[in-house]
Structure formats: C-alpha cells, structure tokens
C-alpha cells in the first residue's frame, strides 16, 4: 500500500476555506474560514449536528466540490485548482469513498462493483481480477463475490463499498457516515475493518459520523458546528 504525503507529514491541508451555496437569492454560508490539517496515517472522526457542513467539508476534501474561497491541499497538491477532467483523474488515483447508503450499482455483482474504479486504470482483465480478489479478501467477502447487492445484508454491502474504495490502493479514505445505516453489530464490524485498514495498512481515514461510539474508534475527533471547527463537542 503506497502513501503520498507532503514534507511535514500533513496529508490534508484545509486553509481558510469558505463554502457558500446560492439558493435562489439567498446565500447560505456552510463553511466559514475553516482550517484543518490531517496527518498521514491519521484516523480522523468529523462530528457535528445535521447541517453543520460535515458532508460539504468531506466533498471538498474528496474533490467532489470546490470551495468558494480558500485552498484544499492533498499531499501538497492544490486540488481546487485542477480542471474537472484532472480532478476526476486525481480522485481515481488518490481517494476512496465509502458512503452511508453504500451506493453500489444494483445491477452489478459484488466483484463487478469492486472492479469499477479499476476500469479507469490500464490494468489487464486478469490483473483487475487479482486486485478485486485481494480487496474482497481484505473485507472478508471472497465467498460473496458473485452476489448482487440486493442479496447481501447491509453490513456486507458496506464491506463491498469499502472493498471498492480500497481496490485502487488510494492515499485517502473518505467515509460519510459509514455505519449510519447499520445496526450496532454490523457497525462495529465496519469500524473494526476501518481500524485495521488504518493501523495495519496505514490508510489515512476521515470519517464523518454522528455516533460517539464510532468516533471513539478514531485516533482524533474534531467537531464542526455552524461552519467552524473545534476540538470540543457541540453543547
């Protein structure tokens, strides 16, 4: 598993970021002059109430959206300055996304879902198959490779989602409420898996969560409220 980082060990650098959404004539300030550093190999939990801007921040870090002002640097690269095409290529190389509702393609079997990011690489079919097998083995789902999402439990679907996120060996894993749609047992399994990816494979993980039980598994927790970060929970 490879890692890319800037010289001082900071992988993610958020500097003076503002995000304003325009809804009709109304301007909604979601993030205000926000600063955040995430070190390589860190497992960061991002907590906050609904509407606090957690997902917006995660989208900015993942290059799914652009800040209204400020900079987003990942491994020293200012991603907000990249063109749409280069940003897509950057995401394919450096970021793995894990979504709350798994976001699997319902028409594809688990292995085909995991293979999707590899279609953007130059790997041959047999190389892609090997990568898919490895990723599914890492999440403990080799025996369910040919199953479609509708035949898998929520926990299994999320594990497929994680396999898809790690199959290209990305620098950064971004997880948006990965246990939000799971029961406690399945949620714990997912958190254990994320912990293992962080500790054993050195993956840098940023996880948005509402759940203090989930955030307790992270190495650091930051709280977001009304567009501002703090190290203390919102009261």
């Amino acid at each position: 598993m490879s890692e890319t980082k800037s010289g001082n060990g900071t992988l993610v650098g958020i500097d003076g970021v503002q995000k304003v959404f325009q809804r009709g004539s109304e301007k909604i300030h979601v993030l205000a002059d926000l600063n955040l550093q995430v070190r390589t190999g860190e497992f960061l939990a991002l907590m906050g109430p609904s509407g606090s801007g957690k997902s917006t921040l995660l989208n900015l870090i993942g290059g799914l959206d652009r800040p209204t002002r400020g900079s987003v640097s990942i491994a020293g690269e200012r991603i907000e300055q990249l063109s749409d095409r280069r940003l897509a290529a950057w995401r394919a190389r450096h970021v793995g996304f894990v979504f709350q509702l798994y976001n699997l393609m319902p028409t594809l079997a688990a292995d085909r879902n995991v293979e999707l990011p590899l279609l953007l690489t130059h790997l041959s079919k047999s190389e892609r198959r090997k990568h898919v097998e490895t990723a599914l083995a890492m999440v403990g789902l080799s025996h369910r490779a040919k199953h479609h999402p509708r035949t898998l439990s929520g926990g299994e679907q999320q594990r497929v989602g994680i396999a898809r996120a790690i199959v290209t060996d990305p620098t950064l894993l971004l997880c948006d409420e990965p246990t939000g749609d799971l029961d406690r047992k399945a949620g714990d399994e997912i958190l254990t898996l994320l912990e293992a990816l962080n500790r054993e494979h050195g993956k840098t993980i940023i996880m948005v969560t509402h759940d203090p039980h989930a955030s307790a598994r992270a190495s650091r927790t930051v709280h977001l409220n009304k567009g501002q970060l703090s190290n203390e929970p919102v009261k």
Partner: protein
C-alpha cells in the same frame, strides 16, 4: 470493451421496459425492410435496365401496337446495334391467380439483347429448333414445378387463335437464371413466329407491343432516340423512344411515387421510434442520477459518463435494428408474398446497410440529450439523490 459489462447491466436493469423498447425498434425495422423490398420490387427493373437499351413504344400509349415492319427500318438508323420486339401476351397458368408475364420474342435477337438471362447452350439450341418451344425463368419454373420437356398450357386474356380458343400450349425448352440478384426470372418467353401464325388477323397479326433497341454508344442514346421518333413521324403509328430505365420508371409510377410514399411512411415510423427510445433513455438516466454521481466520484470523467450513456442508447437501437433487419431478411427470403405481382421482391444489401446506419443515428439522436444531462450532473448533488 471493458465498459461493455457495465453498459449491458444497465440495459438489463428494467427488463420489461428494455424489451418493449427493443420490440418497438424491431417492428420499425421489419417495416423498414419490407418497404425497402416493396420499393425494390416496384423499381428494381429501373436498376437492372441496360444503359445502352432504348424502348420504343406507340406514342399514344403502351397498349397501342406497332407494325413489325418497323424492325428493319430501325436497324437502318445510324447508331442502332440491335433491334428486338416483345408483345404483351397477358396469360395465366390454369387459374387467373397464376398470372405472370409471357411475351413472344425472336429468340436469338432476344438472348443477344438480354445477356442478364443465362440459358445453357443446349437449351438455347432446343428452343431454336422447336416452334412451340418456350423458355421460362427459374422462379416460375420452381413455382409450378416445371422442367425441361414439359408441355404447359397458358390461357391468354388478349390473344385468340383462329379456332376461337385462348389456350396456347408451349414446350419448355429451357429454364433461364438471372445473371445477378434482382434479375426477374418470373417470365416466360416464346417464339414470335408461333405467336404470329397462331393469332387471328383481327387481333393484330403483324403487330408488336414495343421494341427494344441496343445502341452502339450509350453516350449517343439520346440522339438515336430522337432519330427513331423522327423516322416514324407523321406515320399512322408514331413512336415514343426512351431509355429502358425511364420506361420502367414510368411504368412503376403508375402506382404513384413509390420512393416518396416509402419515405413518408418511414419518416412517421422513425419519428415514433425516436420518441419511444428517447423516453426510455431519458427515464433510464433520471432513475440513476445517484449512480452516475458515484461513477463520477470514483473518477469517471464527464466525457466518460457521456460516452457510457450514448453507447447504451446506440447499443439498444442497433440491437433492435439488427434483430428487425435479420427477422425481415428471413421473412423476405421466402420470396414474393403476392405470388407473382412483385417479381423483384428482395431486400438489397444496400438497404440493410442503410438500415444499420439509421439504427445508429436513432441511437445517437435519442441518447445525446440524456447523455449531456448525465455529463453535466454535479457530483455532490447527484450523490444526494442516491
């Protein structure tokens, strides 16, 4: 190719909807192929007409006869290489529904004039040796199970014999094949001398239906036609001379402007298909906005997403087109459904390629707007709709 599985799985997402759309495209292309075959049947003779052949008919109308003596006069006109004549016999075999073309001709001249008919030399020899001999095309011979040596009675609706009878008997001396696909092999040709001797004075002895002229130089065909008509100007039977293709076209146009009718029908059919397929694709893209967002999130570029939707639309359309054209080709290969009225009924390969081109164009036209819509999706917004 590596994206094919993804595209194919999307088409299988709503099997009923995809099947119904595919079926409507298939039906449209079956209709397209049949209309092409009918057009071919009605205009096919125009395509196989010789560029070096002129048709000379009575100036008033085709049913007015011309003197047989014109043949020698035409042969003397500069630029004329060969002259032959035919006369409409208007007969049928056993029952009126078994109607097909039978014309009296001068055998050697006729075969020289029409190299598109292939007749074995020994059969040609047999025809020349037998006054009641006739040659028949492969299609009709097969249809009535005739073979060389058979004696067949043909009832003429126009020509009576001196004994008052209308049934003429012919010995099948040969069976001719077409040199290329589209050559009419439904006709029967018999000897003019037998015909002329057998008909009464009252019914036009010594007269023929029309002449065919081969010119020495196709570039001079217009001049030769003019000279022929001038030769018979102010005679009791003035002529109208035109290229063979134009003659057949005028003949076909008696049933209307076929090409235009076909174009109108196909226009209506494909407009409907555009709406049906377009609706399917628009719905398909709307339903999976979130999934398209996921593809973009994991690194698919806008152009890649556009291409995926466009290829899916084209695949659906071309698949429907292929199935429709294939089914139609199978049905059309059974031959003329009217049993003789459409001797040129077949699906030309040119129209198969045109059909495939149209199916691709339908795919592009119906896919382009949903594809642009998918391309313009903003990732973060699309993911919220998952």
């Amino acid at each position: 190719m590596k994206y094919l599985h993804l595209i194919w799985s999307n088409l299988k997402r709503k099997k009923l909807r995809t099947s119904l759309t595919l079926l409507s495209i298939l039906v449209a292309f079956v209709l397209f192929a049949f209309l092409c075959a009918i057009k071919q049947a009605l205009l096919g003779q125009v395509e196989v007409a010789g560029a070096d052949r002129l048709i000379v008919r009575h100036k008033v109308s085709l049913i007015q006869l011309l003197p047989v003596s014109y043949k020698e006069r035409m042969e003397r006109i500069p630029g004329v290489a060969l002259v032959t004549h035919q006369t409409w016999f208007g007969g049928y075999y056993k029952e009126p529904k078994n109607f097909f073309m039978e014309n009296p001709v001068i055998p050697e001249d006729f075969l020289d004039m029409h190299p598109e008919f292939i007749l074995p030399p020994e059969q040609k020899k047999a025809w020349l040796a037998n006054r009641t001999g006739a040659i028949v095309g492969r299609a009709t011979a097969d249809k009535y199970h005739w073979k060389v040596g058979d004696r067949v009675p043909i009832f003429s609706t126009l020509w009576k014999k001196p004994d008052g009878g209308s049934t003429w008997e012919f010995d099948i001396a040969g069976i001719f094949e077409g040199k290329k696909k589209g050559t009419d092999t439904t006709s029967l040709f018999f000897r003019y001398d037998y015909f002329d001797e057998g008909r009464t004075e009252k019914t036009g002895k010594g007269q023929v239906g029309w002449y065919t002229i081969r010119v020495k130089d196709p570039a001079q065909a217009g001049d030769v036609a003019k000279r022929v008509d001038e030769e018979f100007q102010n005679s009791p039977a003035e002529t109208k001379t035109e290229p063979e293709g134009a003659f057949f076209q005028a003949f076909a146009k008696q049933t209307g402007n076929i090409a235009l009718i076909v174009a109108y029908i196909m226009g209506a059919v494909f407009f409907t298909i555009l709406l049906v397929t377009g609706n399917t694709m628009a719905q398909a893209v709307r339903e999976r906005t979130g999934e398209l967002g996921v593809l973009k999130a994991i690194g698919f570029t806008n152009m890649q997403v556009l291409s995926l939707v466009l290829v899916e639309s084209c695949l659906l359309s071309v698949l429907g087109g292929l199935l429709g054209l294939g089914l139609a080709a199978l049905l059309i290969s059974h031959g003329d459904p009217t049993h003789g009225m459409l001797p040129f009924f077949f699906l030309p390969s040119r129209d198969v390629f045109i059909g495939l081109g149209i199916s691709l164009a339908v795919g592009l036209a119906t896919g382009i707007f949903p594809a642009i819509q998918a391309m313009r999706l903003r990732v973060a917004e699309a993911l919220r709709r998952m």
